[in-house]
Each structure stands twice: as structure tokens, then as C-alpha cells.
């Protein structure tokens, strides 16, 4: 656990070159992937809705996003009279930059297990296939997702208009509510892996599907993470932020031209990053069978395939699930997901502790069961009391 071997023996110009190469590759990869993600989503949804979808620009409409991007560049950049000039211009960049930064910690290749620790050799230098492997690893993702809230929030406020403001207030409430569940689902993985580093987390999952955290943590943290991530991304069915039927376009109503394009880019880039993070945390990252030769090639292919599967799931959600009402959103976040993942976190920690200190089976799990029953009883009593108070209030009104 010494971090990237690239920096072990000091940093020379060649190391910097490799670093720059990795940054450029990650940047280009994300941009191109985003472009095709937009096409993929539109095409897939049109298939699910019995439409044709984009089919004019390029073969199968592949270049549609590119055409849209060029169009955005040449449109007039409007700024409402009431807008706060500085913050209005700042907000899209916050969204785009945080979307890029979170991807930096994702390991996109390298074979793990069987003595190899996920390094590849580029120009005679051993390194990890990820832009950075900071010791805080996965915390960087949480930090970036909490900074990303600023983009949406400030965009809505700085527009100086009511619909964006409502959209951004909803967005920040939603993000704060679901960040807790997202963070705790991540903590379950961290407890199992014993490290915060994304590289270490992937390493801990090496050696077969049963060691992937989606299996060994029980499936619950993954489901909670998936739901919370969808909410965090403001994707349907949690897209109240830009609910077009009631809020025009939500926080980006007043944005046009390239600034709108930045929001659009950030949104789709975040979908890709979140899928990559889920693959890293729960599905062994680039783990998969290596068939012949080229040990560096197969892991990246497996990684991309897994990410693609999640991208499909996100599009599928959008095509099939109706949007939640605001109170349902809060109900799901605070009264279902958080208690559930809190219990699961305690349970997994207890399981680890029992294994580490060789505690008595019956005593450990008996105590856990009693705690679970007491906790559930308290929670149910609390929820009932809350509902009763709410009904009383409604009657008084």
C-alpha cells in the first residue's frame, strides 16, 4: 500500500510525461465517452419508446452529439438582466470541473491478484492505470460530489429567476439528503476493504466473483448506493431538479449556448463517473478473466463492459420509472435508505469484529438481533408519531 510506484524513486521528467499522458487520456476518454453516452441514451430511449431517434448526422446518427456541440458553440450566450454576473458565469465551470476530477481516482485497468498488483508499464515505467491514487481515494469522490452541489445551487440562484431558484433549492435539499446514504454505503465497502484508496479497494476484490463487494457485503449496500447515486446525479426518477413539466428546465432554465453545454456535459460525465465508481466499489473494477497474451488489454475491456452495463441501467431507469413526488423523495431518502444502510453498516462492522476477535457466535448475533428489533420498534414508533402529528396539523388547517 505505497501508492503509485511511479513516484517511489523521486519524480523526473519522464514520470511527469507519463502523468501528463494519463491525464490527457482520461480527459479525452471522458469527453468522447460522454459524446457517445448522449447518443447511446437517445438511441436506447427511442428504441424503448418505439421511435427511431437520431439518425441523420453520421451513420446511425452517431455524430448527432458532435453536431449539437458545434451548434452550442455558435449560439448567442444570453445572460438575464437580474443575473449575478460573476456567479452566473462561475457555476457551469464548477459543475464541469468536479465531474472531471472525480474520474481521476478510478482505476480503469491493470490485472489484480495472482501476485500482480494492478501495475502496467508505460515507456519502461511501472504505474497504476488511474490518474491518481491519493491515500484518501474514495473520499475524493465524496468531496467532489458535495462540491458539485454548488454548481447547481449557484446556477439557480444567480439566474435571478424563480424557476431556476426553486430547482436549485430542490437540488441542494436532495443532494444533502442522499449524500448521507451514499457515503454510508461507501463506508461499508471501506470497512470490508480496510482502505480508502480506490486501488486498494479493487485489490481487495481480486480473485473471483465471490470476493466482489456486491456479493461479500450482501447486496444491500449496492442497491442503496445505486438509488442514492441516481438521486445524486439528478437522473430520473429523481429528476425533480429539472422537472420540465413544472419548472421549465430547473436550474439551467436561463442558461444558453456553451454554458448550457457545460452543464449538459457535466451531467452525462457524472453518469459515466458514477457508473465507473460503482464498478470499482462493488464489481471488482477491471477484474475479469484474461484469455490470452496482453494482460493489460483484457482488464480495461472488462472495465468498459461493466461501465456500459451500468450506463444501460441508468437509461433504462429513465425510460421506465415515473418521477417521484417531493415528499416521496424525502421519505425514501430519510426514512428508508438511511436507517437501512445504517443498520447494514453496523451489521457488517460487527461481522468483521467478530471474525477478528473470535467472539461467540450466539452472543454476537443475539445482541445484534435484539438491537435490530429495538431499533426497528423505535423507528416505527417515531414514524407513526410523525404521521399522526402531520394528520393533526392537516385537520387543524
Amino acid at each position: 500500500m505505497n501508492g503509485d510506484p511511479l513516484y517511489l524513486d523521486g519524480v523526473d521528467l519522464g514520470d511527469l510525461g507519463v502523468m501528463a499522458l494519463k491525464v490527457v487520456i482520461a480527459f479525452v476518454f471522458l469527453l468522447v465517452a460522454t459524446m457517445f453516452m448522449v447518443w447511446f441514451e437517445r438511441k436506447l430511449i427511442s428504441d424503448m419508446q418505439n421511435r427511431i431517434g437520431p439518425n441523420v448526422a453520421g451513420p446511425w446518427g452517431l455524430l448527432q452529439t458532435f453536431a449539437d456541440g458545434v451548434k452550442f458553440f455558435f449560439k448567442e450566450d444570453l445572460r438575464p438582466e437580474n443575473a449575478d454576473p460573476l456567479v452566473f458565469r462561475l457555476a457551469p465551470y464548477i459543475s464541469a470541473v468536479t465531474a472531471f476530477l472525480s474520474f481521476a481516482v478510478v482505476p480503469i485497468g491493470g490485472s489484480f491478484g495472482d501476485g500482480s498488483s494492478g501495475t502496467v508499464t508505460i515507456f519502461g515505467r511501472e504505474t497504476f492505470l488511474q490518474v491518481a491514487d491519493p491515500p484518501i481515494g474514495i473520499l475524493l469522490l465524496l468531496a467532489m460530489s458535495s462540491i458539485a452541489v454548488y454548481g447547481v445551487m449557484l446556477a439557480g440562484w444567480a439566474s435571478g429567476s424563480k424557476y431556476p431558484l426553486i430547482g436549485s433549492v430542490r437540488a441542494s435539499a436532495q443532494a444533502i439528503s442522499y449524500e448521507a446514504a451514499l457515503g454510508m454505503a461507501t463506508v461499508v465497502v471501506v470497512v470490508l476493504a480496510g482502505t480508502l484508496s480506490t486501488h486498494g479497494i479493487v485489490e481487495a476484490q481480486a480473485g473471483g466473483i465471490t470476493r466482489w463487494f456486491v456479493v461479500s457485503s450482501g447486496i444491500v449496500p449496492f442497491i442503496v448506493f445505486l438509488i442514492a447515486a441516481t438521486a445524486e446525479l439528478n437522473r430520473p426518477p429523481f429528476d425533480l431538479v429539472e422537472a420540465e413539466q413544472e419548472l421549465v428546465g430547473g436550474f439551467h432554465t436561463e442558461y444558453s449556448s456553451i454554458r448550457f453545454a457545460l452543464f449538459f456535459l457535466a451531467e452525462f460525465m457524472n453518469v459515466i463517473t458514477m457508473s465507473a465508481i460503482m464498478v470499482t466499489l462493488f464489481f471488482g473494477g477491471p477484474a475479469g478473466p484474461i484469455f490470452f497474451g496482453m494482460t493489460w488489454f483484457w482488464p480495461t475491456i472488462w472495465f468498459l463492459l461493466k461501465v456500459l452495463a451500468f450506463l444501460f441501467v441508468f437509461v433504462w431507469f429513465r425510460a421506465t420509472l415515473p418521477r417521484l413526488r417531493y415528499d416521496q423523495l424525502m421519505h425514501l431518502g430519510w426514512k428508508v435508505l438511511i436507517p437501512l444502510i445504517l443498520f447494514w453498516l453496523m451489521f457488517i462492522s460487527l461481522k468483521e469484529l467478530r471474525a477478528a476477535y473470535d467472539w461467540n457466535w450466539v452472543a454476537t448475533y443475539g445482541a445484534a438481533l435484539i438491537a435490530l428489533l429495538a431499533g426497528t420498534a423505535l423507528l416505527v414508533a417515531g414514524l407513526r408519531a410523525g404521521d399522526r402529528a402531520y394528520e393533526d396539523e392537516m385537520e387543524d388547517v
Binding site: I136, S168, V169
Partner: protein, 184 residues
């Protein structure tokens, strides 16, 4: 050893942000300047190999507390320049001035009097880098300082419950207020 260039750039960011907080006319701008200061401090933490503290700084302070500030500013619609002449407590301004000058004097005296600015004293966790950093921090939090830690969390729970109790208006006053609203 902290790289002097990193230190001075981060300090400049911190100070600019800090001045911005008090000089900006608009509360939202002030809050954003506060975020800038917090980021500067996070960079200082990273420069001292305290990666975990840097992450916590960004997640908790910049990501949660200032977002909450902004949330309140937006919800209450106080995002206009406040009239500074309208002071509720006249003593307040003088008290703030006295305490501010006092702390500045104490700090200056402290910095001037310290002969060796780099003490070389180790933190509770000792010097450690990488993921060990997190481990040592956790170990000292949950062993030597466990009472302080638990008492702090208890304090937070009390604060939450207090806030809920205060936010729930008693039934009688609510009736009165809704009556008066109806009469309007």
C-alpha cells in the same frame, strides 16, 4: 516539510477568501469566499501530509456547512445587501472591535515571541503518511480520546433535538397565527 511556494500560494488564497467574507456586500458572495478560504486550508493540510483532514475539510465544511448557509440565505431571501445602520445591539459593534483587536494582539505577540517557528512536535498519531494516516487518527479517536469524541457526538444530537423542538411551534400559538393570517 512544507514547500514554501505551496504554503504562500495557499495562504494568499486563505487570506483573500477571509477578507472577501467580510468585505463582500452580498451574503452569497461572502459564503463563496468562505469556501475559498476552506479550500486554501485544505491545501495546507495536504501539504502537511494530513490527507484525511483535507478531505474532511472539503466534505464537511465546504460540502455541507456552507451549502447549508447558502440554503438558508436562499430560502430566507436575505441575499440583498443589508443595511448596516440598522443595528439591533449597539454594544455589539464595540464588543466585536475590542475582541478582534485583542485576539489580533495576542496572536501577534505569540508569533513575535516564538523563537523557533517550526517546533518539530509530532501530532498525536505520530508522523505517518498514506493510509496509515487514517488508521492512526481513527485509533487515537476511538481509544485515548473516545470520551471527548462521544461527548461531542452527544452534543450534536442534543443540538439536533433542540433545533427540532424549537422549530415545532406549540399548538396554541399556531392557532393564533393562522387566525391572524385569516383575518388579514
Amino acid at each position: 516539510m512544507v514547500d514554501p511556494i505551496v504554503f504562500f500560494i495557499a495562504s494568499a488564497i486563505c487570506l483573500t477568501g477571509a477578507f472577501g467574507v467580510i468585505l463582500a456586500r452580498n451574503p452569497v458572495h461572502s459564503a463563496l469566499m468562505l469556501v475559498m478560504t476552506l479550500f486554501g486550508i485544505a491545501v495546507q493540510f495536504v501539504a502537511q501530509e494530513a490527507h484525511f483532514l483535507a478531505a474532511v475539510q472539503v466534505i464537511v465544511y465546504a460540502g455541507a456547512i456552507v451549502v447549508l448557509f447558502l440554503f438558508v440565505i436562499m430560502l430566507l431571501g436575505v441575499d440583498k445587501a443589508q443595511n448596516l445602520e440598522l443595528s439591533i445591539l449597539p454594544v455589539q459593534r464595540w464588543a466585536a472591535l475590542t475582541f478582534g483587536a485583542g485576539s489580533l494582539a495576542v496572536l501577534t505577540a505569540f508569533i513575535v515571541n516564538v523563537r523557533e517557528p517550526v517546533t518539530g512536535a509530532e501530532s498525536v498519531g505520530g508522523i505517518a503518511t498514506g493510509s496509515e494516516n487514517v488508521r492512526l487518527l481513527a485509533r487515537s479517536l476511538f481509544s485515548d480520546y473516545v470520551y471527548a469524541f462521544e461527548l461531542t457526538s452527544l452534543l450534536l444530537v442534543i443540538a439536533v433535538i433542540g433545533a427540532v423542538v424549537l422549530a415545532r411551534k406549540p399548538k396554541d400559538t399556531e392557532m393564533v397565527s393562522s387566525d391572524s393570517e385569516r383575518s388579514i
